[in-house]
Amino acid sequence: MPTDIQHDTRPQKDGPSRPLLCESCSRPMESPLCCAGCGALNPLPPSMFDYFELFGIAPEFDIDVADLRRRYLTLSRSVHPDLVAKSSEENRRRALQLSSGLNRAFDTLADPVLRAEYLLSLAGGPEPHQDKSVPPELLEEVMTLRERIDEAVRDREEAALADVRDRIRQGRTHSLDRIAGLCRSGLDDPATRRELRLVLNAVKYWNSLQNHLPASAASGPEHP
């Protein structure tokens, strides 16, 4: 759950943290992670930054993941722990902290559900622990589908299993579409944010159902 920690540690929007100055040579830092001038590593872990700002992209749901990956690889090289293997203990510690934070930032933005969670957190929540509600009837359906999975596996009913598999894929896809739609509509309205929380909770149940499906050669390629 990557959204819990960063929320409280993000700097104030109008805080004194930008432009960042290198603490070693006092020049403005282009990358928030390390100074291009003297190579000093920023002591702040990336969790201190807005992930979108960290990668220099707009805070939107629709992002170019290939572009994000390129930006991630460029930033990764500048803080790779191997680069500072022979440097001071403090620098090695910073490099580890920065690269693990950078990985977390990339994983969060690269995945649509985690990205939506993050956008919701930036917009003010509710966070997962604050609101665990789900759409009406969902839990009952989850219960039924789990029973049907167990029965189909026990009785080796491939056709029944295929039906359940289809229903889970359909339910999950519907949730993912809804998440994208809500994020695109903007998250200023608290009612929209509550609905997004609801659908993000629902998708966890669909994921869990999917994980309980037995592996099947007939399941075909995974739809994103």
Binding site: L139, E140, R146, K204, S208
Partner: protein, 142 residues
């Protein structure tokens, strides 16, 4: 993490597993879930005309602690009135099953399930009462 003997006992010999007829007016059904782990728990109670719980069933898809918590919950609610059953606290389940801190949410789920089932049957009983005062009493016979 090792499960306590009591958790293992409930896990291996779950009490009152199964379903009651959810359309029976004397049966209350509570379905609750934990989004963080995807666990779902169904707890059902059946009351007599004095609102005493005469039967309880559960079905849980989740970890051993969630199964044990709901199994224990069905044992504990049987024979209690609805108001007595509302007094059951998740902390008592934690103590009885010696649940570690990471599994406390399983006991919370069981308490939530008891409350949801009680709320459901109360809604049925009280909702039926104004129009037809005999519904509650006849329902428990069927």
């Amino acid at each position: 993490m090792a499960y306590s003997d009591k958790v293992l006992d409930h896990y291996n010999n779950p009490r009152n597993i199964g379903s009651l007829d959810k359309d029976n007016p004397a049966v209350g059904t509570g379905i609750v879930g934990a989004p963080e782990c995807g666990d779902v728990m169904k707890l059902q109670i059946q009351v007599d005309e004095n609102r005493r719980i005469v039967d309880a069933r559960f079905k849980t898809f989740g970890c051993g602690s969630a199964i044990a918590s709901s199994s224990l919950a069905t044992e504990w609610v049987k024979g209690k009135t609805l108001d007595e059953a509302l007094q059951i606290k998740n902390t008592e389940i934690v103590r009885e099953l010696a649940l570690p801190p990471v599994k406390i949410h399983c006991s919370v789920l069981a308490e939530d399930a008891i409350r949801a089932a009680i709320a459901d049957v109360k809604r049925k009983l009280d909702g039926a009462r104004p129009g037809n005062p005999d519904v509650a009493a006849t329902a428990s016979a069927g």
